[in-house]
C-alpha cells in the first residue's frame, strides 16, 4: 500500500470539518421542518415540465441570465405585489437563489465582517444561526413575547451595544410564523421595529419564507411594504409552497445590496430546470389552489398536535398556538431539560430539536420546537402522547 497523501498542511486556516452527514428520522419526526408530503403538487409539476420543455427546453442548453430565469422573476414580483403589496423591480431588484438559504448566506457574507454584531429574535432558524456563526458574527438575540420583538428591548439593546463600541450591522427577523417560536409579529410591533432600527441606521433583513402558510387569521403586511427607503432586505422561497426539493428562493433588495451579495453566488445561475417548471406551474394557476389545499391540511395537523398537547401535557407545559406555518414552541417549567433527553427521546421514537439549538447563547433547555407539517394528524396526536410518556418515564415532567 502506498502512503496516503496528506492534506494536513494544505487546508485554509480555520475551516471546520463539516461532513455532509445523513438525514435520520424518528418514528414520530417533529424535528425537521418538512412541509406536507401528502399535498405536493406532483401532477401539476409533471405537466408543467412537459409543456415548458416542449416550448422552451432549448434554453436548458444556455447558461441563463445570472439572476435567474427572467419570466420567473417577473412572476415572483407580480405575486409579491398582489399578495404582499410589495413594489419590486424584477430586473435589478430581485434575484433567484437556491432556496432562501443561499440568499441568506449571500447577504450575511455581504454585510458581515468578523466580530460585527447582528441582532435576531431570541430564538432563530438554525440555518441562519449557523451561517452567522460561520462568518464570525456576534449574534445578539432580542427578547420577544407573543407579539414579536419587544420594542423597548430592541432600542435598549442597540443603545447598549453602541455604547460598548459594537458595530450593529442588521436585524434578522422571521416576522411571520416565526421559526422556531410560531408567533406572528403584529403590525404595531413591525412599525415600532422599523422606526427604532431606522433611527439607529440598522437595516431589517426580513425572512418571509412561511408567509403563504396561513390557515387562520389575517395577513400582516410585510416590513418590506411598510418601508419606502430601501431599509428592508427581503427573502422568500417556494420551499414551503411547492417543495423544498425544488430549491427555489428569491432575494428582493436594493440593487447595491444585491450587487454585493452576488459576489458570493457560487456555481452560476439558479437551477434553470426547476425555474422553468415552477414558472410554468405558477402561470397555469396551479399554485394558489394548491396552497389553499395544503393549508387546510396543515390546520388539521396543527389541531391534532394542539389537542394532544392539551390532553397529555395539561398544566405541565405551555405552548404557542400558531395561525400558520409549521411550528409549535413547547415550554416546560424552568429547570426541565429537553436538551439532555433529546437523543434518548429520538431513540425511543420521537424526534424534536431543543430550544438551545436555536439560541445565540445556548438558552432554552426547557423548550423545544415541534414541527407539525410532515407527520399525519394521527401521528401528530400519537407522537405527542408518546413524547409525554417518554418525558415522564425519564423524570423530565411529573
Amino acid at each position: 500500500m502506498p502512503d496516503r497523501f496528506s492534506y494536513q498542511e494544505l487546508f485554509a486556516a480555520g475551516v471546520p470539518e463539516t461532513p455532509p452527514g445523513k438525514t435520520r428520522h424518528a418514528r414520530y419526526d417533529f424535528a425537521v421542518a418538512y412541509p406536507n408530503p401528502d399535498t405536493l403538487p406532483l401532477d401539476g409539476l409533471a405537466d408543467a415540465v412537459r409543456s415548458v420543455l416542449s416550448r422552451e427546453g432549448r434554453d436548458l442548453a444556455y447558461y441563463t441570465d445570472p439572476g435567474g430565469y427572467p419570466e420567473l422573476r417577473r412572476l415572483v414580483a407580480e405575486r409579491l405585489a398582489r399578495s404582499r403589496n410589495m413594489t419590486v423591480d424584477p430586473d435589478g431588484g430581485l434575484v433567484l437563489t437556491g432556496g432562501s438559504g443561499e440568499a441568506i448566506s449571500m447577504v450575511i457574507q455581504a454585510l458581515t465582517d468578523p466580530g460585527d454584531t447582528v441582532l435576531t429574535e431570541e430564538f432563530l432558524y438554525l440555518g441562519t444561526l449557523r451561517s452567522l456563526h460561520r462568518y464570525q458574527a456576534n449574534v445578539v438575540g432580542v427578547k420577544c413575547d407573543e407579539s414579536g420583538i419587544i420594542p423597548e428591548e430592541l432600542d435598549s439593546t442597540i443603545q447598549r451595544l453602541k455604547a460598548e463600541g459594537r458595530r450593529v450591522k442588521y436585524l434578522y427577523t422571521i416576522p411571520t410564523f416565526q421559526n422556531p417560536l410560531g408567533w406572528t409579529m403584529t403590525l404595531e410591533r413591525r412599525r415600532q421595529t422599523l422606526e427604532i432600527t431606522r433611527r439607529h441606521g440598522v437595516p431589517v433583513f426580513e425572512d418571509d419564507c412561511y408567509i403563504d402558510l396561513r390557515f387562520e387569521g389575517e395577513d400582516v403586511v410585510s416590513f418590506h411594504s411598510l418601508d419606502d427607503t430601501g431599509q428592508v432586505i427581503y427573502v422568500g422561497s417556494f420551499s414551503k409552497t411547492i417543495a423544498p426539493g425544488m430549491r427555489m428562493g428569491y432575494l428582493a433588495a436594493p440593487p447595491e445590496v444585491i450587487s454585493r451579495a452576488w459576489a458570493f453566488k457560487m456555481g452560476g445561475a439558479v437551477n434553470h430546470f426547476a425555474a422553468l417548471t415552477i414558472a410554468e406551474y405558477v402561470k397555469h394557476g396551479g399554485l394558489e389552489q394548491h396552497v389553499q389545499e395544503q393549508n387546510e391540511s396543515l390546520r388539521v395537523k396543527r389541531d391534532a398536535m394542539l389537542a394532544s398537547l392539551g390532553e397529555n401535557f395539561g398544566n405541565a407545559a405551555t405552548w404557542t398556538r400558531p395561525e400558520g406555518g409549521l411550528y409549535i414552541w413547547l415550554t416546560l417549567p424552568e429547570g426541565a431539560n429537553l436538551e439532555a433527553i433529546q437523543e434518548q427521546a429520538f431513540q425511543e421514537g420521537v424526534g424534536y430539536y431543543s430550544g438551545t439549538q436555536f439560541s445565540p447563547d445556548g438558552r432554552g433547555q426547557n423548550s423545544a420546537r415541534l414541527c407539525f407539517g410532515y407527520p399525519t394528524p394521527e401521528e401528530n396526536y400519537q407522537g405527542i402522547a408518546e413524547l409525554a410518556q417518554i418525558l415522564e418515564r425519564h423524570g423530565v415532567i411529573n
Copy 2:
C-alpha cells in the same frame, strides 16, 4: 420622498460590486460555452420526471441527504467506475453540487488562504480563474504544449516558487479537451505530472467536465484513476452531457477534503428535483445513446469550423484540432490584438473571448477561444468567414 437608507458603512470589507448582469448573444456566438441545443434529451427528461415523481415524488418534501440524492451518487460512482476506471465511494467520497462550478468554488475555499499559490495551465476556465482571484490566490500558469503541461516547466516552477518561500497549494487542471485550449493531456504527461506534484506534496485538482464529449480518438485515463494515494480531487458534471440548466455536478475526493469543502456549501443539498430526474433518465439508459448522438453532431460542427478556418484564415493563423469538447483555440501572429477588437467584432456579429480573459497574467492578446457547440454547422462555417472579414476590415489580419 423620504431619504434613501444608506448601506455604505455596512458592507463587509472588500466586497466588490458584482451585479448579476445579463447574457447577450452575437449573431454568431462563439463566446459562451454552450453545448448543442439541438440534441438536448428533452423528451427523455420529461418522461423521467413523470415516472420518478409518481414513484418518489414525496421525497421532494424532504430536505434530502445533504450530500445529494443517494441513488444519483450511486449511479455516478458506477458510471465513473465503468467509463473511467475510478474507484469512488458514493457514501463519503462523493457529493453532488450545483454544477461543477459550485464544487470548484468550495474546494478553492477549503484549500486557499489569501496569498497562497495555485498552479494552473497557462490559460484556464474563466469561472475557476475568477474564483481563485476572489479568494486572493496567487495564480501561476504553467507553460503547455499540445500534449498538455510541460513537465520540466512544472517542476522548475514549483522549485522556483518554493525557493521564493511561496506556499504552493494545488495544481488545477482540465486535462481533457482543455478549456480554452482544446487539447488533451497525454498519458505520459499525466504520469509525469502526478510524479512531480507528488514529490512536491502538491495535490492535483482534476476538472473532467468535458470527458464525455469525445468524438474521435481514444480516451486517456484520468489522473484520479492513476493515483491510489488520495492525491487527486476530481470534479465532473452533467452540464455537457444533459444540460447546463440542470446544474448538476459532482465532487469525488478524500473524505477529509469533502468535509472541509462542505463547510462552504450554501442553501442545503443540491436541487433534488433535478437529481431525481437525472437519476431516472440515467437508469433508463437514455444517457449513453444521447451522448453518442450529441458527439456525432459536435463532430460535424467542429469540422465545419475547421474547414472555414482553413479557407478563411489559411496561413494568417494557427488553431487547435480538438478530438472532443467544445473549443478551438485560435492564435494569430504576435502583435495581433484580438482583445482590443472583441467588442467591435461582437457589434458586427461575431462573439468570442480573447485569450487574455483566460490568462492568470493577462497574456494571449493574439489568441481567442472559439466555441463550436452551440451554433449550427452552417453558422460555424459562415461565422468564421465573417470573423475573418471583420479582422481584415479592421487591419488585425491582412
